[in-house]
């Protein structure tokens, strides 16, 4: 099968992939987290990949799924932002507009049976309001005060809901960081496609900030004591 036919209509599969993205709303805005790993199947292929990406002045997108599709998304969003800037009409795109645009792109690509293989979180802060929403390769969208993609939906989302729901307006940045860190740790312990190196993005009235890579400290000594599976027999 030719490359053209493959990308044109035939189904593809994700190749180099990122795992979960987490996000929550807190007192001052939105926080997002994703680790720095891009896997090639079960191989930890790239360990310094950034999966949180700023778009314009008020928005961050976080991506799981195919990383080349994500880079393509970054590229066309950059063009979109420049188009918007050069028109100099006094309007600029906020997180809600970027999410809607992305949703239309994702949905129209799934409708051509040529999806962009990603789960994306769109977080932002503009005009005093927080924004947090999801969109994926099917064009499915939803929003909530806490969101998690991939394995995070099973492992982190319950923790995030317990910690955040109903406290969105009181949570401080420090608490939010602590919650994120504990969730990323759970993911690192249980998700085999995750990494102990991750980044945090905060989007507040002050704009977008994406942290340097942070390291998770973990303990594995308990593994010695585990019996019943693995190499040990007794």
């Amino acid at each position: 099968m030719s490359i053209a036919a493959q990308t044109d209509s035939c189904p593809r599969q994700p190749i180099v992939t990122g795992t979960s993205v987490l996000a929550l709303k807190y007192k001052d805005g939105v926080m997002m987290a994703a680790d720095n790993l891009a896997s090639y199947g079960s191989l930890a292929r790239f360990k310094d990949i950034q999966r949180l990406h700023p778009v314009g002045k008020y928005t961050v997108i976080g991506a799981g799924g195919d990383m080349s599709d994500f880079q393509y998304i970054q590229k066309f969003l950059e063009q979109l932002i420049i188009e918007e800037f050069t028109s100099q009409d006094g309007h600029d795109l906020g997180p809600a507009q970027i999410h809607e645009y992305l949703s239309q792109v994702m949905y129209s690509r799934r409708s051509k049976i040529n999806p962009l293989w990603n789960s994306l979180l769109v977080g932002g802060f503009k005009d005093g309001k927080s924004f947090l929403s999801y969109v994926d390769l099917l064009g499915t969208t939803y929003s909530a005060t806490t969101l998690a993609t991939g394995f995070g939906a099973y492992l982190a989302q319950p923790i995030l809901r317990k910690e955040v729901e109903g406290r969105e307006n009181e949570l401080t940045e420090e608490e939010a960081i602590r919650i994120m860190e504990s969730c990323m740790k759970v993911l690192y312990y249980r998700d085999a496609r995750s990494l102990d190196k991750y980044q945090l993005a905060v989007i507040t009235a002050d704009g977008v900030k994406i942290s340097e890579s942070r390291h998770l400290s973990t303990t594995w000594s308990f593994a010695e004591g585990i019996r019943g599976y693995g190499a040990q027999t007794q």
Partner: protein
């Protein structure tokens, strides 16, 4: 005009016997009737300024801008037919965008000027088209630092330290030559630009005008932006004051 009635001025694809293309010269005339536009390439940036003549008191302030943005780091000012200016700006945006698409980097102005020069020149070749009635000043801050180009209706383009096109270009050029452009900061250049535009407007005093100024450089994080309102107001006030004492 000697060309009229000879039949050599009816098409851009026809030379006159002495090797001129009158349609291109007429396009240049369209530029000469327009309000002045200037560009200053200075130490840490570029400043563009335009004397926008107001043809009706009923027009909305700040409408029909003649300084346009091409990419984050590129600005464009035109003198001549307003609509031609918009067309060339759109073409420039497409070029800049396609450069980004191909090279994943902002377009160097040198490259953009060449592409636009080629495009403009193509409109001097065919009987089916009319050359652009504009001169275009391009300003940018790219990987080479600040840069400034002018494209003429013929399609020729040159790089400059200071550029002036339109009605008051002669006086403006004289004033620009007096400046030590390479030693000015963009902020100082804004004041000079405002002063020069106010000065060259003296000759067409009966017409109202609006000053447009934009800058690119250290002050703006290398992004093409209109200068802040307070700065422009201050520069205009100083420009008016300077007129009193000039010569």
């Amino acid at each position: 005009m000697t060309s009229i009635g000879t039949g050599y001025d009816l098409s851009a694809s026809t030379y006159s016997p002495d090797g001129r293309i009158f349609q291109v010269e007429y396009a240049t005339k369209a530029v000469e009737n327009s309000g002045t536009a200037i560009g200053l390439k200075v130490k840490d940036g570029v400043v563009l300024a335009v004397e926008k003549l107001i043809h009706s008191k009923l027009s909305v302030p700040e409408a029909n801008r003649r300084i346009q943005t091409i990419d984050r780091h590129i600005g464009l000012a035109t003198a001549g037919l307003l609509a031609d200016g918009r067309h060339i700006a759109n073409r420039a945006r497409d070029e800049a965008s396609s450069y980004r698409d191909t090279y994943d980097a902002p377009s160097p102005l040198k490259n953009l000027a060449e592409r636009l020069g080629l495009y403009t020149q193509a409109y001097t070749l065919y009987s089916s088209v009319r050359p652009f009635g504009i001169s275009t000043i391009l300003g940018a801050f790219d990987k080479e630092g600040p840069s400034l180009y002018v494209i003429e209706p013929s399609g020729v383009y040159f790089g400059y330290n200071g550029a002036a096109v339109g009605k008051g270009r002669q006086l403006a050029k004289t004033e620009l030559e007096k400046l030590k452009l390479s030693e000015l900061t963009t902020k100082e250049a804004v004041y000079e630009a405002a002063r020069i535009i106010y000065l060259v407007h003296e000759d067409a005093k009966e017409k109202e005008f609006e000053l447009e100024i934009s800058w690119i450089g250290q002050e703006t994080d290398n992004v093409h932006l209109p200068v802040p309102r307070e700065l422009q107001q201050d520069a205009e006030a100083k420009a008016k004051a300077a007129l009193e004492t000039f010569e």
